[in-house]
């Protein structure tokens, strides 16, 4: 379907990433007229060059957001730009949230509760994994919450994974194949992965479930229209301030235009979604749309993580496998499993390495320069092993997206991100660092070391909850005070757990989109 005008449509979706494209596919298939606005370029599989340098063009740079506070949240590295959004360069590690993740406040008196439980989301996890193809071993993954077994056999464990797994076993710890949305066999017309470690640069074969091969094609086939390089500046409200009536956007010609719609889905990721809501303030919503609680932008979370490295004498085949790793450990996932800290943690083991880039071989030892560097690089290219500890950040209302002093090219305030890690997160990281060193020693590493703390993933900022006093949206992502304005994506997470968020983003989006179809009479 192609339109040359901005006549009213059923649904406008802002953002062509994982959540936005899934919404577009479901809504268009149900017969709704859908227009998707994407601020970045119209990427295609042929743009995904195998190069860590080129991969940087997939990350978010504009409109810029300043990353202030004691601990940066990794705004650029974690964000996306163009069709596919952040999911185009995600590593497709797809564990599920656990049941306890949904009731932190009830169980521990800290953090937040989700307005739904695991059993509510479980069927959507099951359906999404069957839809896009997830590889793993549900039996070996003893920590896994209930659900249908994975549709695909697990990824192989190469020498690096086997060596580090021996360290886990020697310490009495368990490993299981990492659950990944990467095909290990041909599935639904897509080919199996070649295990060559280019996930970060985007997967042009279609083996990894990025939106270019999952929900964008389905949305297009069902008639959704995608408009690239079209930056949405604000959501427009009716005169009474009760309903969204469309969006204002700036297209390639630089002119502000209006697209009217009966419902608006904001799926512009963790920074731009709250920024658009702030910039959409009206007389009735002076603090921004959805901000009756004063919590719009609050509870931004990034997973605190470290890499633990070990140097081995054997050939680790560390260039093989997915970028996200080959094995999983969640032995310390229970919220109280780490003394002195509240929160979960998990290990992702044996990431495929490239020589350069933020997570590459050279950056593992940033202190080595000069004549010592090349011998290190040659040794590490064969013998370096690594694993990543992902820990849970408790939601903190002081960690937030707000409007900063700068303005974008259209004169609208830019976002400012304020973020720091709490004491629990730091204690989880410290425990992981000690445990990781012991594992590497037990695995036979001649030396081991760890990276500084880095922020992985961005979540929160428009958290869902049971009421407008303590949250921005309901469990379907609908703003409490503007029900035809729906937030989708990781912005909704009230807690972050210690698992990668993209599987949950998909499950929530499927639930939200189908509810919109079901309840359409309220919107149309």
């Amino acid at each position: 379907m192609s339109r040359s005008t901005n006549d009213e449509v059923d649904v406008v979706i802002v953002g062509a990433g994982a959540a936005g494209s899934l919404h577009a596919a479901v809504l268009a298939a149900a017969g709704r007229s859908v227009v998707v606005f994407e601020g970045g370029p119209p990427r295609k599989l042929g743009d995904l060059y195998s190069s860590q340098l080129w991969a940087r063009r997939l990350k978010w740079t504009s409109p810029a957001a300043s990353d202030v506070g004691a601990d940066g949240a990794g705004v650029s590295f974690n964000g996306g730009h163009g069709y596919g959004g952040a999911a185009i360069h995600h590593y497709a590690v797809w564990p599920r949230l656990h049941a306890a993740d949904f009731r932190m406040a009830s169980d521990h008196g800290r953090g937040l509760d989700w307005p739904i439980d695991y059993d509510t989301l479980r069927p959507f996890y099951d359906r999404v994994q069957a839809d896009v193809g997830v590889a793993g071993d549900a039996t070996q993954e003893k920590w896994r919450p209930p659900g249908v077994a994975y549709p695909l056999p697990p990824i192989p464990a190469f020498a690096q994974a086997q060596a580090i797994a021996r360290g886990f076993a020697a310490r009495g710890l368990t490993t299981a194949p990492l659950p990944v949305a990467i095909l290990t066999e041909a599935y639904n017309g897509r080919p199996a992965c070649l295990m060559d470690g280019w996930c970060d640069a985007g997967c042009p074969t279609g083996a990894l479930a990025n939106p270019l091969v999952t929900y964008i094609p389905r949305a297009l086939k069902a008639g959704a229209e995608f408009r690239a390089n079209a930056h949405v500046t604000r959501v427009l409200m009716d005169a009474a301030g009760n309903r969204a009536i469309g969006v204002e956007y700036v297209g390639t010609d630089g002119a502000r235009q209006v697209q009217r719609a009966r419902a608006v889905v904001l799926a512009a990721f963790a920074i731009e979604t709250p920024r658009i809501l702030f910039n959409s303030a009206t007389g009735k919503h002076a603090g921004g749309l959805g901000n009756a609680s004063g919590l719009l932008g609050s509870y931004l979370m990034a997973h605190p993580s470290i890499s633990v490295f070990g140097m081995f004498d054997q050939d680790m085949q560390n260039y093989l496998g997915p970028t996200g790793g080959q094995l999983l450990n969640q032995d310390h996932f229970a919220k109280d499993a780490t003394p002195g800290a509240l929160g979960s943690r998990q290990w992702m083991i044996a990431q495929a390495l490239k020589p350069n880039d933020l997570l590459g071989i050279a950056m593992s030892r940033p202190d080595i320069i000069g004549p010592a560097l090349d011998p290190f690089m040659r040794k590490a290219a064969r013998g370096l092993g690594n694993m990543v500890a992902l820990c849970e950040p408790l939601p903190d209302s002081a960690n937030r997206v707000s409007l900063g002093a700068g303005r974008d090219a259209h004169g609208l305030p830019l976002a400012q991100v304020t973020h720091r890690y709490g004491n629990d997160a730091k204690a989880l990281i410290a425990a992981a660092a000690d445990e990781g060193a012991a594992i590497m020693r037990a695995a036979g590493a001649s030396e081991n070391w760890r990276s500084p703390i880095a922020g992985q993933h961005l979540m929160g900022g428009c958290v869902m909850g049971r009421d407008s006093v303590s949250s921005v949206t309901d469990s379907l992502g609908r703003l409490h005070d503007v029900p035809n304005l729906i937030v989708a994506g990781p912005s909704l997470f009230p807690t972050a757990s210690a698992v990668n968020p993209t599987f949950t983003v998909h499950a929530l989006a499927l639930r939200s989109a189908e509810a919109l179809v079901r309840d359409w009479s309220q919107f149309g």
């Binding site: 190069s51 340098l53 940087r56 990794g74 490239k354």
Partner: protein
């Protein structure tokens, strides 16, 4: 030059050509953004950090990326929270480096011998050396070291040098 090798647009003898950073260096391509002294300082710093970076065309590579639209830039600085445009980050860092070199040795950084250049470069990771005025010194260190690693080890030739299979799906295009 290998198919798919890193290429950049350079000004050589008054004409724009698409060549590799190493070729641009060999042909003494004129920088488009950096001043000649800044390019010289960049080359000296990168060479001290990652031997081979100067001949691999580090100055020409960074200059070409500073000339590009920030959203198209390949500089690793964007991962470190450096906001576009990135030029100020680099040029103020070079100025800081010169000030520190003059404070310690009485001459600009590009005039330092290899050993004092390496010592001063290494000190940046711990914090600003005496005389430094510029972006956070550890951040500048990480970004510049990352750039140098990119041009020496991040290309097909760099992988080959380390014996790492490149296993590309799609090679980067010749036109950068």
């Amino acid at each position: 030059m290998k198919a798919g090798a890193l290429t950049i647009a350079c000004l050589v003898a008054g004409k724009v050509v698409r060549i590799s950073p190493a070729e641009a260096h060999a042909l003494a391509a004129a920088p488009q953004v950096l001043l000649p002294h800044e390019a010289e300082t960049l080359g000296h710093l990168a060479e001290a950090m990652v031997p081979g970076a100067r001949a691999a065309g580090i100055a020409e590579y960074v200059d070409s990326q500073l000339f590009a639209d920030p959203s198209e830039s390949l500089l690793i600085a964007r991962y470190f929270g450096v906001l576009p445009p990135f030029c100020e980050f680099y040029t103020s860092g070079f100025a800081g480096l010169d000030a520190a070199a003059k404070s310690a040795h009485g001459k600009p950084f590009a005039a330092l011998a290899a050993e004092p250049a390496l010592t001063l470069a290494a000190s940046l990771l711990a914090g600003p050396p005496p005389g430094w005025a510029g972006p956070p010194a550890p951040l500048f260190y990480l970004a510049l070291r990352g750039d140098a690693v990119d041009v020496v080890y991040g290309t097909q030739a760099g992988f080959e040098m380390l014996g790492v299979p490149y296993m590309e799906h799609i090679l980067p295009p010749r036109r950068w």
